[in-house]
Symmetry: C2
Subunit: 199 residues, 2 copies
Amino acid sequence: MRPREFDHDEVLRIAFDQFWRNGVRGTSLSDIARDAGVQRGSLYNAFGSKEALFLQAYERYAEDYLAALQKALGAGSLRKRLTAFFDLTIGNFRAGTPPRGCPTTRGLMELGAAEGEGLDEDARQAFANLISRITALVQDTLAAGAARGEFDGNAAAAALHIITVTRGLAVLERAFGNEPQLRKIAAHTIDLVLGRKGS
Amino acid sequence: MRPREFDHDEVLRIAFDQFWRNGVRGTSLSDIARDAGVQRGSLYNAFGSKEALFLQAYERYAEDYLAALQKALGAGSLRKRLTAFFDLTIGNFRAGTPPRGCPTTRGLMELGAAEGEGLDEDARQAFANLISRITALVQDTLAAGAARGEFDGNAAAAALHIITVTRGLAVLERAFGNEPQLRKIAAHTIDLVLGRKGS
DNA sequence: AAGATATTTGACATCATGTCAAGAACGTGC
DNA sequence: GCACGTTCTTGACATGATGTCAAATATCTT
């Protein structure tokens, strides 16, 4: 067998960076091939298609991001944990110059466009999966907080509410790019969910 | 001067329907030309470019949608008004088979991709503008409710929170397509904002 | 050393946007 | 009434995207 002449993971990293910067449809395989120093045909051979390449690059990102979230949610009072969660979330899609937005939300709205086109459906599931896993993390955090008497509502409903707000923040980031406003909304959300305890 | 052979508004309507169904990047001018019974070149002559055509079609939609919202927010108790607002919002992006999602959110995340590319910036402003106007409507509704003693919080902050949730709902709709869940989140949001008064 | 196997490479088909020049149809002014 | 000018229409063209494929190539295995 002939060995590959490029590093699989490095190409995924480069590809995700491009996808994140310019959107999936706004990134051509020629762009990625040029940046990675690989022939376009080799990308097709190694990954199958543009969307398959995106999916692999995204899954990589999702794992890394989940790990970071888990860490952010893991210490301090419930309020501190939720604050850290929003900080990480907002920081994630405000990173870069200009900010690149939330990869999940952007990918979801961009690829969800065409209806049931095989790979688009796979992508939708990948996005939905990450959102579900993040929701579960937040819910667990709230349940643990409830056990410590820091929260007395419905953990599932509250987690879903918080996740909805983070998705909304991802959208508002694109519309207005106003980071202080995003942070205010986040703080307000925490107050609402925790019933302004300790504020 | 030679008169146009097609109806300007009808083309906008057909174009918006296509854009809404398959996304901006997922719709080709050939598609629109075929559906509208117009030559592709005529579209360029009349509208300038694909994105300019989209912008005009979107502005048309935005005006109609704002009028509908204003009506929904205009009668009943504050809780009823907010409920009607969420109903209209969710109904809007759950309309069609399959549901077409929120045009604003989808357009924003799709076109916001490429950075500062002239027309993309115009589109971003159009989306941001509609969101701002909707926020103002909700804020006015909350302020009026406060004057009637149905609400005692910060109307501006609450309106921003509600809008953020609606943007989040637009994203979750694409991820899960679970309409009952969306309605639960909406109801929960109203409870949080109104402090569970009357629940 | 030779063959099997996977990768690389470039050519090709197809379809997208956008430009342009030439042709066609209508209002206007003489 | 007729020629002119202006706008719309039409088809050809340039460019660049995705995706396929066959031929060439480089390594591992036997």
